[in-house]
Symmetry: C2
Subunit: 327 residues, 2 copies
Amino acid sequence: MAAVDLVEIWRGDLLESVHKGHAVVCDGTGQVVEAWGDPDAIVYPRSSSKMLQALPLVESGAADARGLTPEHLALACASHQGAPMHTDRVAAWLSDLGLSEADLRCGAHMPSDRPTAEALVRAGERPCQIHNNCSGKHAGFLTLARHLGAGPEYVEIDHPVQQACHAAFEETAGEAAAGWGVDGCSAPNFAGTLAGLGRAMAAFASAGARGGARAGAMQRLTQAMIAHPELVAGERRACTDLMRACEGRAAIKTGAEGVFVAILPERSLGVALKIADGATRASEATIAALLVRLGVLDAGHPVAERLTAGAQRSWRGIETGRTHTLL
Amino acid sequence: MAAVDLVEIWRGDLLESVHKGHAVVCDGTGQVVEAWGDPDAIVYPRSSSKMLQALPLVESGAADARGLTPEHLALACASHQGAPMHTDRVAAWLSDLGLSEADLRCGAHMPSDRPTAEALVRAGERPCQIHNNCSGKHAGFLTLARHLGAGPEYVEIDHPVQQACHAAFEETAGEAAAGWGVDGCSAPNFAGTLAGLGRAMAAFASAGARGGARAGAMQRLTQAMIAHPELVAGERRACTDLMRACEGRAAIKTGAEGVFVAILPERSLGVALKIADGATRASEATIAALLVRLGVLDAGHPVAERLTAGAQRSWRGIETGRTHTLL
């Protein structure tokens, strides 16, 4: 099945651009209960799989052995914007492990938090690996590697940490990985069907009804994200704004190239979507529209309105057009 | 006709994202000689119409009356990145008119030239309207407004400057505008078919075979862009890099939301393309592929290779995937 139109970008009275994509809603039994486009589309979940990558950290006992708090777990699932609230906590986490920035393997990039980026420029400093939006995930990888007694090259595909992530991905999605690629942070990223990603999110959403270490880990990660939305992304970011607007009814995570997922514990539903062209503006609009449709986000909430029907403006503030979601 | 696949983004061995769009090649008689997708798709040309917006400036005699050089004309057609080579020239141009930054109506945004942006941050200064990528176009508007004895609000739709731009657009595209919207710089932007935009570019390309003020203006603008590619965009930008790589055989201009046009004087051909989702990475890849296909860009040139088949890399420099053009 082909991708379907999901988001339109209008200018004046004319349609200027359109985004196609795929979306699924899965229930706690793993069934696809609603779909747009192709549920069997093969996607890289990118950072939307961070909750899956954090499962071995909790399940293995590594998180408890190191006394990790919900804040640590939220950061392990985060694509943070490198503000001090993120980098201070990751730096302290590494220090607690007896490690340092040099032990990370995520690479450095400028933080997307603008005041932090401008402060670096003013100080004439370069960003370090702790500024990388994935540094919390990597601190989690290092914690698990230490717990397993494994070596320092934790992003290699055959490292015990990545083998555990591979198994968690396949067991939770209920299917074999379709392949893997290298993510922007140099960690392996396992690909699969969009329905598989939706099933995985539904497994998190319905974990309260199940027992065992995995279900317990799923609940802890979901609750950590909901408790600390500002650590999962940052101020003025879609994940953070949407989790706050949903008031505890959803854990929400973006991934690069137009991916978004949501875990809805009260409804035992998992959501996954992929914009075919990879556009973030369209994935943000579509996840907001789906959250409204599924009853966990008020259509009149300013965040919902901004993401699903926001105005574009000229540099002088004149409204030039609008986003229009089709779900 | 629907948009067709034009650019694929691969990660590892799997297709991650795909961009659809429309493209046309027109000859000097205005015929569409090659097309992908729908030549009748309605598009906003955005900044790719700056050569059309500069036609009245030259045709009217305003450019000569004010002694404008090819550098001024290249800036009138530019989406520049606000480096000193751009802003110094626009500031001097305004001064020559007895005007200042406050007379511009384009609004201010941070320059995309990184050293310039970082210098502003270090100095604790905000960007001004001269940093706006469209400030050269607006200096041209002001020059024409002065020449016509028209008022200062030159971006209003019924201002004589915009009426002249409207007429130039319709006469050159050979069709009535399908509508208009407000561009990011607050100026009107007239919409039409992609084939009309391609015809307009072919009219520029074949102007050497015709006489009259309009054909002369078209030749001067084309030659100004080719003579000063660094003024049309800036260092490390696709328009500048492609014009340099084509070694005088093409004038090339991007527009926001995935538009690109090219004027090929030696072949009397005009090119226009629109990526349906508005992605710049895909419009850059597709224009490069078309320039190779049309014989004005060497497929082995580093700029062609970078834009049509460039590697994506992780923050540690590991190759993660590649762009793949389908033309």
